[in-house]
């Protein structure tokens, strides 16, 4: 029989850090609420019969949001032997409200007061016995960051088997008020020496949340992140892809000398070495992106931006919390969509899930990096312009969808806890990079490898058997030729480009290696730079890869919405790519950046007219109109 210990506590109190120390695993942590959104079970590192469960952070057990629902259903369906209640020591009062609720559960509780190091630094001393006697719990001081006290937790938990005593409050009506008063009294007794907590913004925080500077800094940070990842990443990518290319040539020569079959030589040198190499060469770019992102997450900067931009995002039917999801999507759409669980309102969450894929993820940016390297001499502005098209599309299509009923509700709550800024823990950042590296290489070794072989097979074999150089008779061209007409209006109606869009559904990186395997001379795939740009925009806006789609389906909860998402994103990608290609064909301007600006103007004009149509009339009399909220009378 397993001994099960659940970690419970307020959001951002350090449960996951404790979990990581106890199990030796590595789950992502961050300086904001809602990093953990589902339960996670692991073995205690020193004793496999002890199971540790990490649960999302909660404030009470009422089940009013997704996180609380997850916790409630877990507690209902599982027998738990001990609860470790992780408490943020710098926020004792609020944390103890939850302890009072947990005391009703009839499971022995060990209260682990985290951030003991910070308390010590601030000169705060606590009278732990007062808490112990109040709730009949065991109280331990720990520091998850410094890893002190954590390893003793399990031993203490196993030996402590007193059942907790809940607060004695008879009147159901004033329950909350009395609970708050009781705990305030308790905290006043517990804290022996204390400093007045900072209720002012620090200088840095003042600048970061400044009315004007704050927005400028945020735009700069976005630009720098994108620019660094395509510039620095691009530099290393170049070196890696060159070495893979020369390796491929060497292998080809050696195998030729050894007298290997030509098809086998081709499989090894083209499909395996060159195809997979072209994907691996984008690892540096992805790593730089994740490095910047995890710095922002770890420092707590993202919550500042969420606070600052909440109003701005309301024009797009989103809120400040969507910004967190969107910025996580820069790394991986799967992370972005998973994090939408913390968004309170149904309509806002739905919209955020549908719009997240518009933000280019690491894999998409690898595709853009490769294409701009091959067709635009590696100009980093090409990739950066695509990022901004992505952001712009979120804004524009958010504003459009918001006008329609299922998305337009603005009743959503927004309560965002703002943790103090801290210096990012470099160990955590490095760990994120390490995990990302592992993921990326595993993916290259599995999905990308399989796609490589399949694409190579389809490219070299046809109904007549091995076709080799005579590629026009291969299976791939048959498939490509059948679907290429769909993309004809977009300027890339070639068999190669069409097939790469299909393989891109499995993983976006596969686009690169499909194109790499398929063509010796890349210029035959696309008519001109404009159709390349249209292709990039299509990849950017079309539905994400299969793993992101499955997460989206799970989070949307309704098949109807999932189908809508697919159709919507395909339509958007098709229309925008069509516009870009049409402008290119008209040869108004050949520079991609200017094409981008003109497209923006055309789209903006289109939207203005759509908005005018969808706006409807206001009665100017009812209470809603006077408050400036959407009229409910019509």
């Amino acid at each position: 029989m397993h001994f099960k210990i659940a970690l419970l506590g307020n959001p951002n109190s350090g449960k996951t850090s404790v979990y990581n120390v106890l199990t030796g695993e590595f789950l992502t942590v961050g300086n904001r609420i809602g990093v953990t959104v589902s339960e996670k079970q692991g073995d205690y590192i020193k004793d496999k019969s002890v199971k540790i469960v990490d649960l999302p952070g909660i404030y009470s057990l009422l089940g009013k949001n997704e996180e609380e629902k997850v916790v409630l259903s877990y507690l209902k369906n599982n027998k738990i032997d001990r609860i470790i209640n992780v408490i943020d020591g710098t926020n004792l009062e609020r944390s103890l409200y939850l302890t009072a609720e947990l005391a009703k559960l009839n499971v022995p509780i060990i209260v682990a007061i985290n951030m003991a190091d910070v308390l010590k630094k601030q000169g705060v001393r606590l009278d732990l016995a007062k808490i112990e006697s109040k709730f009949s719990v065991k109280v331990v001081l720990i520091s998850a960051k410094k890893k002190t006290g954590v390893s003793n937790l399990i031993g203490i938990a196993k030996n402590f088997n007193t059942y907790p005593t809940p607060l004695k409050i008879n009147s159901e009506k004033d329950y909350n008020a009395i609970k708050i008063e009781e705990i305030q009294k308790l905290v006043n007794n517990v804290i022996i020496e204390k400093l007045k907590p900072a209720s002012e913004l620090t200088k840095l925080d003042k600048i970061l949340t400044h009315n004007i500077l704050g927005f400028i800094i945020f735009a700069l940070i976005l630009f720098i992140t994108y620019y660094l990842s395509s510039k620095i990443g691009g530099y290393f990518s170049h070196i890696i892809s060159n070495s893979f290319n020369s390796l491929s040539n060497v292998v080809k020569e050696k195998m030729f000398l050894l007298g290997a079959m030509p098809w086998f030589t081709d499989l090894i040198s083209m499909a395996l070495i060159k195809g997979i190499g072209s994907v691996i060469s984008f690892l540096p770019q992805v790593l730089v992106l994740f490095f910047c992102l995890s710095l922002l997450e770890e420092s707590g900067y993202t919550t500042r931006v969420a606070f600052l931009t909440d109003k701005l995002f309301s024009f797009f039917g989103l809120g400040g919390k969507s910004l967190i999801s969107l910025s996580l999507s820069m790394g991986c759409t799967v992370n972005g969509i998973t994090s939408t669980k913390t968004i309170d309102g149904e309509s806002e969450r739905r919209l955020a899930i549908i719009l997240c894929p518009f933000i280019p993820c690491g894999a998409k940016s690898a595709v853009f990096g490769w294409l701009s390297h091959v067709f635009f001499n590696g100009n980093p502005l090409v990739s950066v312009s695509l990022y901004f098209i992505g952001i712009f599309s979120v804004a524009v299509f958010g504003a459009i969808l918001k006008r329609f009923k299922p998305f337009g509700l603005s009743n959503d709550t927004f309560l965002l806890e703002i943790p103090s800024l801290k210096i990012p823990n470099i160990k955590n950042v490095l760990r994120v990079l390490y995990e990302k590296c592992k993921d990326f290489l595993l993916k290259a070794g599995s999905v990308i490898f399989a796609v490589s072989v399949i694409v190579w097979f389809l490219r070299n074999f046809g109904v007549l058997g091995y076709v080799g150089e005579n590629s026009k008779q291969s299976f791939l061209y048959v498939i490509g030729n059948a679907i290429k007409y769909v993309f004809y209006p977009l300027g890339f109606g070639t068999a190669e480009a069409s097939v790469s869009i299909l393989t891109g559904v499995l993983a976006k990186e596969a686009v690169i290696e499909t194109l790499e395997i398929l063509s010796v001379n890349h210029s035959v795939i696309f008519n001109n730079q404009c159709s390349v740009y249209a292709f990039m925009v299509f990849i950017l806006l079309s539905p994400p890869c299969i793993s992101a789609l499955s997460v989206a389906k799970r989070e949307l909860k309704d098949k109807k919405w999932f189908l809508f998402m697919l159709a919507f994103e395909f339509a958007v990608a098709y229309i925008v790519a069509f516009l870009i290609n049409t402008i290119g064909v008209l040869r108004v301007i050949a520079k991609p950046l200017l094409i981008f600006i003109i497209t923006v103007i055309i789209i903006a004009l289109g939207i203005l007219s759509i908005l005018k149509l969808a706006k409807g009339k206001s009665c100017k009399n009812c209470a809603f109109c006077k408050k400036g909220i959407k009229c409910k009378k019509r």
Binding site: Y59, S60, L62, K64, T90, N91, L92, E93, R94, Y97, L98, N176, A177, I180, I183, Q184, P197, S199, E200, L201, T209, N211, I212, A306, F307, L308, T309, D310, K311, L312, G320, D344, S410, N411, T413, F414, L415, L416, E417, I418, P419, S420
Partner: protein, 75 residues
């Protein structure tokens, strides 16, 4: 007077919260009820979110919700 009309840096006492049930329940979890002292730290531009400080921690609330919280200056 409502919480949304208080200027930055002022501390006020909550008289009545008439937001929707969800917000009231979250505020309850934070220990924020009638008679609680609350300080306005920062208001985002264009009637954006309002950053407040109460009971030892900082959080943000939307302007439209702050309009439904009745407060008075605490002396």
């Amino acid at each position: 007077m409502t919480l949304s009309s208080v200027s930055e840096g002022k501390t006020v006492k909550i008289l009545k919260i008439s937001c929707n049930k969800r917000i009231i329940s979250i505020l309850n979890d934070f220990g924020i009820i009638e008679d609680t002292l609350i300080k306005i730290i920062k208001k985002a531009p264009f009637k954006g979110a309002i950053m407040v400080y109460s009971r030892g921690f900082t959080f943000a609330i939307r302007e439209k919700d702050a309009r439904l919280i009745e407060v008075a200056y605490a002396f």
